[in-house]
């Protein structure tokens, strides 16, 4: 009745990480044994001290840790250097481990010509969340940096339009994806509802738009649907709801 395999399974469950049967727990391999990545060597040669560590995770994903000071220079070099050509910025995001640990800023790069992946990480202390923006290197970073700013409060110096993107512009509860932010927000539900219902028209517009409306002598258009009285509906056809 008692299957020894299941007993083993239970013990393993307690130990946590699922490893292939029979595999022993090993410490991460020492730095010298990592699978080589041509870019990492080139980076070390070019930038020396600014390159902090090199790690490989999940088999084939290479991570390079760099200092926050020269990130723009290094990332621009990665895109422009004929040997590297990381022309695609696939992701910018951050990780908060909580308990006051450094925030990790993550850039995920891909080189279409060389078919190579590289992840750049920058560790930022919680009291100095500032790096240079790569807006003028990859335009893809525009919204990604705004999102990271919105969710983690990391300031990207030189980003031309750094404002909240997902949360309302008047959001006052903080940066939601930080670990010290409670899941349901800091205010009570009643307060949150009241605040949202009393948003003013200007709260829905970016400074550019507010300024433009002022110059045009035009009131800001209402954000709410169809504010201009009975109008012609966009389409009288059935079924085209929003997606």
């Amino acid at each position: 009745m008692t299957d020894p395999n299941f007993k083993k399974g239970l013990d393993a469950l307690d130990q946590g990480p699922a490893r292939a049967a029979g595999e022993t727990v090993e410490s991460p391999p020492p730095a010298g044994d990592l699978p080589p990545h041509p870019t990492v060597d080139a980076l070390r040669d070019t930038f020396g001290e600014a390159i902090l560590r090199h790690e490989v995770v999940s088999g084939d994903e290479h991570i390079v840790y760099i200092g926050p000071e020269r990130n723009l220079e290094i990332l621009r070099w990665l895109r422009d250097n004929p040997g590297e050509r990381y022309d695609m910025l696939r992701d910018v995001t951050a990780i908060d481990y909580g308990n006051g640990a450094f925030l990790q800023l993550v850039y995920e790069l891909w080189s279409i010509p060389n078919r190579r992946q590289l992840r750049i990480k920058i560790e930022l202390p919680l009291d100095r969340l500032e790096v240079d923006s790569v807006y003028y290197v990859w335009r893809a970073s525009d919204w990604l940096e705004r999102e990271t700013f919105d969710m983690f409060g990391i300031v990207f110096r030189g980003h031309p339009d750094l404002r909240r993107i997902l949360m309302p512009y008047n959001y006052a509860e903080g940066h939601p994806l930080r670990k010290d932010f409670p899941l349901r927000g800091r205010f009570t539900r009643a307060e949150q509802t009241r605040r949202s219902l009393s948003l003013k028209t200007e709260d829905h517009y970016s400074p550019y738009e507010v300024e433009l409306a002022k110059r045009l002598g035009q009131p800001l258009p209402s954000v709410m649907a169809d504010d201009g009285g009975p109008g012609v509906p966009e389409s009288g056809m059935p079924g085209i709801g929003a997606q």
Binding site: T2, A21, G59, D91, I112, A140, W143
Partner: protein, 433 residues
């Protein structure tokens, strides 16, 4: 009379030799002029320009997207999208859920192709944990993902056609979609919110008769596609409203991070299934259509061809679907069979622990991407050894594709805004997350 230029997409080029030089990209980065954005106003705009607001509740924005447009007559001078009207904080919620509990969240993110999201998430976690799923599971997931690629493209086709004034196509595509709904329902019990995957396998094996039903769909579906093509491809209105509208060059597209059909329509041959094959995609025989003009029409042609290629993939996958278990034989991630859990104490405890505490992942992280119907979809999972993720990040393809919208429509006409927006194939659930 609209000009009807004859044009075809470069069909059946997997690695187009003409676009050689490393996957078809001439590397010449665009460098936007510094200070290009905001702040400097033209002095003599008084009374001539107009600020209008579209959305967030508008039938043609495909969800709750909101666009603020500065118009000069009918020409769009500046377009500023505002998003976040559907922000449901999936990523924060994921940090409070165990690894398996996140699966139901993934299909609420992209409700147009839920199974692709289910599979992508499971694959990312499995990669981080070092779990190799069974052969049957691999092929099954390929089948599910290709099926949902068709599912999602069909909705795109129907709604885009409506936005451009062709209503019949919508009814045709929804008729086909209902058949995929039936397949979803027969397998998972739900029409949209499928939640089909688990870490290490699927929630169940296929029900009897499912493959036959799919086979029937695969056989008869291309006929509808032909019908739609006769309605649209050479239709003067369709051609007039799509050709040379919303053009983006290949270099710009890469710099903006576009992926999927939007990128390939601009002539860049980048498809995750070919460039970083997963689940043995390299052993399937299929082509990646690549366009050349980067306008709406090429995106349309690319998606049409992608659906036909998905049919090919489905046929091959059905033919090679092996027998055997769908779940890995690893008691640490997979629940014991129900009969064992009911009859045997050890299994019951084990069942209890997996359910109540969740699977525990090793310390590590994985940024894993698949080719979804909208582009490159990546799941970034970070674990600190607990039963819940430290960070679960979704790199949504629509989020990045829609960011290029202003670039494509500034300078064109107001009526093109709706067309270009529709052509990008966005889903707001995943843009706002």
């Amino acid at each position: 009379m609209a000009q009807t230029k004859k044009r075809t997409v470069v069909y059946n080029v997997t690695r187009n030799p003409q676009l050689a030089d490393g996957g078809g990209l001439v590397h010449a980065p665009i460098v936007p002029v510094e200070g290009e954005v905001a702040s400097d106003f033209d002095e003599d705009i008084h009374g001539t320009h107009m600020l209008i607001n579209i959305g967030p509740q508008h039938p043609a924005t495909h969800g709750v997207l909101r666009l603020v447009l500065e118009l000069d007559g009918e020409t769009v001078i500046k377009c500023i999208p505002h998003i976040g009207y559907l922000h449901s904080s999936f990523e924060k919620l994921g940090e409070y859920r165990t690894w398996n509990q996140i699966v139901p969240l993934t299909d609420r993110m992209d409700y147009l192709a839920p199974l692709i999201y289910n599979c992508a998430y499971a694959m990312a976690v499995e990669k981080m944990m070092g779990i190799e799923v069974t052969e049957r599971c691999k092929v099954l997931r390929v089948i599910l993902m290709e099926m949902d690629r068709i599912f999602s493209h069909l909705l795109w086709l129907g709604t885009t056609a409506i936005d451009l004034g062709a209503f019949t196509v919508f009814l045709y595509t929804f008729q086909e979609r209902e058949r995929v709904y039936n397949l979803h329902e027969a397998y998972t019990g739900a029409r949209i919110t499928t939640s089909a995957t688990r870490i290490g396998g699927m929630m169940a094996d296929l029900p009897a008769g499912w493959i036959e039903q799919l086979n029937h769909f695969v056989k008869t579906f291309p006929r509808t596609l032909d019908e739609v093509e006769t309605l649209l491809t050479n239709n003067a209105i369709w051609v007039g409203r799509t050709q040379d509208v919303g053009v983006i060059s290949g270099q710009d597209a890469v710099n903006f991070g576009l992926t999927g059909a939007n990128l390939r329509a601009s002539g860049v041959d980048y498809d995750v299934r070919k460039d970083r094959p997963y689940y043995d995609y390299e052993t399937y025989d299929f082509d990646v259509p690549v366009g050349e003009h980067g306008d709406i029409y090429d995106r349309y042609l690319c998606r049409m061809e992608e659906m036909r290629q998905s049919v090919r993939l489905l046929q091959q996958a059905i033919a090679r679907l092996p027998g055997g278990p769908v779940n890995v034989d690893d008691p640490r991630v997979i629940l014991p069979p129900k009969t064992a859990a009911m009859n045997d104490m050890e299994s019951m405890i084990h069942h209890f622990k997996v359910v109540m505490e969740g699977v525990r992942a090793p310390v590590g992280e994985s940024w894993f991407s698949v080719e979804s119907s909208k582009g490159e979809l990546a799941m970034y999972v970070v674990s600190d050894g607990g039963s819940k993720p430290v960070r679960w990040r979704v790199r949504g393809p629509s989020f990045i594709n829609i960011a290029a919208l202003p670039h494509m429509i500034e300078g064109s006409l107001l009526s093109d805004v709706i067309a270009v927006n529709a052509s990008l194939d966005i889903v707001l659930g995943e843009i706002d997350r």
